[in-house]
Amino acid sequence: MELRVLIAGLLIALPVVSLAAEDGTPHPSTDVFVTKCSSCHSVGEGDRVGPDLKGVTERRKPDWLATMIKAPSRLLDSDPEVRALLAKYNNVRMPDLGLDDEQVAGLIDLVAHCSEHACQLTPELRPVTEAVELDAAHGRALFLGTAMFTNGGPSCISCHTVSGTGAMIGGGTLAKDITNVFARLGDDGLDAALRNPSFPLMNKVFGDHPLSAEEAFALRAYLYDANRGKHQGAGVYQLSVPMASLIGAIAVLILLNTAWSRRLRGVRRELVRHGGRPS
């Protein structure tokens, strides 16, 4: 029933929305696409984290598309074609984005429209080629956490690693190594991934703490350098947490033994030795 209403709504909405977009004004769903989709998808600009969506409205049925946009989790495990796509795109699962039926219909129309006409579907971007040394240095500070994000987001090093940070410690291992993320996502894709991340956990974490355009620019500059191997060799010597902890634990055990094992022993030994005997 819900699907029928959706498809009916789609058929009614299609000509209206398309007409509205004919006069050169941005498509009404552009904002939704930019904030929810553009970090992983483009329309006609090539693959990003996920596939280029150009022409997808002609290749797929509307109800399949609607389900894939609204609740991909329903198809990701069951539909063999989607599983094949998932494998092709590095097993990055598309999250359920919490879109309503109207937004889904609008997005389908936008993809159909932008497959035919050129659309600006990524935010205006200051290209990383304009960055100077200072920008990359600021990006490194943001990555390491020595400079804080203005909206209170966690530093990148909490979860990610980049080889050659120059710090005495390696990066986090909760999420991917992002040394070469610039090569994978490109300037546009990386900016979108930083400011509107679609990776489920990162999306949650930065949902309340978005990065500013300037912070994303600085990080892009740093990651651009990292991708070119500019930092290779820096900070090769890294302190090992397990090794330091093992040495520390042995030291603490020795300390405890020295400080504590004789505690009250004199009195206790006497009491235990004479316990139960008539004195």
Binding site: L174, K204, G248, A249, L256, W260, S261
Partner: protein, 228 residues
């Protein structure tokens, strides 16, 4: 669905059991609030088990609690890589002390016939839950580096969402397996708490730490008795 049960419902079950049964047990069976310690008589045998275990587990418990209460301060502390390193190493040292102590205590119990007789099913459950918590904690520390940094933006908001009765399970459901198992084992410990010897935690004689010194005066001729 499983995530909703494990991270949305189970925590509340654990808290209800923790609070409800603890109070009921204290009212009905006050004299069972003990861990049946033999520390007085076996201080030396227990040393390599009990002391590292308790030192490690107390620091870790309060470390997790402080991180939950002051996430912003933890983030500021971690703003320098050297400080982040010190915090993580300190935590892992305590993790190692805890596992060394617990394994020592389990071996001691397994070897002694007298202790085996006095070991209940609940004691074994406590050991299993503690082992799960510590092993998954070590697994997190070793495989998902900088837990103290990502904890403040994933698990802390999740725990806060539990308190306001609007569980934001996506924050933890997307975490890797080790971290999810660690969270579940922590709630399992809370569930078991009031049924087992773990209750000794809330009746620990903390004032002993600052009570006045007690003098032991022997009311007998020590030379005679010690030579007997």
């Amino acid at each position: 669905m499983l995530d909703v049960i494990l991270f949305g419902a189970f925590p509340y079950v654990a808290v209800v059991l923790f609070v409800g049964v603890s109070i009921q047990r204290y009212r009905r069976e006050p004299f069972t609030y003990s861990s049946l310690s033999t520390q007085f008589l076996e201080s030396r045998n227990l040393f390599w088990g009990s002391v590292p275990f308790h030192v490690g587990v107390l620091v870790l418990f309060f470390g997790h609690l402080l991180g939950f209460m002051f996430p912003r301060q933890v983030m500021l502390w971690n703003a320098m890589p050297a400080r982040l390193f010190i915090l993580e190493v300190s935590a892992l040292i305590c993790g190692i002390l805890t596992i060394v102590g617990l394994v020592g205590l389990i071996l001691r119990r397994a070897r002694s016939a007298r202790l085996r007789v006095n070991t209940s099913v609940n004691d074994i459950l406590v050991y299993i839950a503690l082992l799960c918590s510590i092993i998954t904690g070590l697994w997190v520390a070793l495989s998902l580096r900088w837990g103290s940094a990502w904890y403040t933006h994933t698990i802390v908001p999740y725990l806060q969402s539990l308190i306001v009765m609007q569980p934001d399970i996506q924050r933890v459901a997307e975490l890797p397996l080790a971290a999810r198992l660690h969270i579940i084992s922590a709630f399992a410990l809370f569930s078991l708490f009031s049924f087992t010897r773990l209750v000794h935690i809330i009746v620990a004689p903390v004032p002993y730490l600052w009570r006045p010194t007690q003098l032991v005066i022997w009311n007998r001729d020590r030379k005679t008795t010690s030579g007997a």
